[in-house]
């Protein structure tokens, strides 16, 4: 089964709530900054940008498995999408989470347009045998994540790094929660093989 990572374009960015996110002083400051920026304040937008771009850039870089400079184009695209949509931000989740959901859409579009890959971006086939990588050397965790296939990488980053639930990932990517779970399981297996290097055969 091959499932395209189709995100509904019509819907506004979904509010995902990662574990441990709660309202606080910073969140209140974000709300005020969002309101001011949406009202046309450039200084408020710049403050918002400086607060959230480092995390957004890291998130997009991991999702794309790209260099920071490549990811910056997607970050710019994210802000271009997020700014007109600031008025829709309702503080139901943190601004950072909301922004990452916009960033995820921008990253998906970037992958689909083949800016980085010539092939269509699809989730990995659930029924196909797991093709574990053949690397002689051990990788560090960051490199291993970047080496994963796009479908695996995205699910792993969203779940294991960013802390989203399978239901939230399913909602964001337009897939079933079961698909998300299956993809994560396989993504972890591949990542473990990458991290153990020559021990891959033991994993298989």
């Amino acid at each position: 089964m091959t499932v395209s990572l189709a995100v509904t374009e019509k819907s506004s960015p979904q509010m995902l709530a990662p574990h441990g996110t709660g309202p606080g002083i910073a969140a209140n400051a974000d709300v005020a900054l969002v309101a001011a920026a949406a009202g046309g304040s450039e200084s408020a937008f710049r403050e918002l940008f400086r607060r959230h771009t480092p995390h957004l850039l890291q998130f997009v870089t991991r999702v794309l498995g790209a260099s920071a400079s490549e990811a910056e184009d997607v970050v710019q695209d994210t802000w271009m999408r997020a700014y007109p949509a600031l008025v829709t931000f309702r503080n139901e989740s943190s601004f950072s989470t909301w922004l990452c959901s916009v960033g995820l859409r921008a990253a998906l579009d970037s992958l689909r347009k083949g800016k980085r890959r010539s092939t269509e971006f699809v989730l990995e086939d659930d029924d196909a045998p797991l093709d574990l990588p053949h690397h002689e050397d051990r990788m560090d965790l960051e490199t291993a994540i970047a080496s994963l296939a796009p479908g695996y990488r995205m699910i792993l980053v969203l779940h294991d790094v960013e802390g989203f639930t399978h239901e939230e990932i399913a909602l964001q990517l337009g897939i079933a929660p079961g698909t998300s779970k299956a993809q994560l399981f396989k993504a972890r297996r591949v990542m473990r093989a990458l991290l153990t290097g020559r021990e891959k055969h033991d994993v298989q």
Partner: protein
């Protein structure tokens, strides 16, 4: 680093994932790039643009009111003109020669001519 074969992440794996950096410093130019791109799409300074739109609307309304008042004044002046003419008519009639009637008949014209001739002869 050894990763377990369980479906769930081991404590070691969780720790390793949690230790991953959460932020990446963007290049210095990115902020300016984004702000410039947003400006080119007409964002920011919406408050100033809003003010100028209000100013334009107020000026338009004022111009419309001025036009309307001008129209009312002109209309009022035009309506008051016949009354003025009536008041000044006797003065004008005295200074202006009597117009020749247009619808007089031929006999009346002859009679008038004879009267004029008779008056001339009387004076001569």
């Amino acid at each position: 680093m050894m990763f377990s074969e369980n479906h769930e992440l081991s404590e070691q794996e969780r720790t390793a994932l949690a230790a991953l950096p959460r932020e990446l410093t963007p290049s210095d130019l990115l902020e300016e790039r984004v702000v410039r791109a947003l400006k080119s799409e007409g964002h920011f300074n919406r408050a100033t643009r809003g003010r100028s739109q209000w100013t334009r609307a107020i000026v338009r309304i004022a111009a419309a009111i001025a036009l309307f008042a001008g129209g009312v004044a002109t209309g009022h002046y035009a309506l008051s003109q016949p009354d003025t003419e009536k008041q000044t008519a006797p003065v004008n009639q005295a200074s202006v020669s009597k117009p020749v009637p247009q619808n007089t008949s031929g006999a009346q014209t002859v009679k008038n001519s004879e009267t004029v001739v008779a008056e001339r002869e009387m004076w001569l």
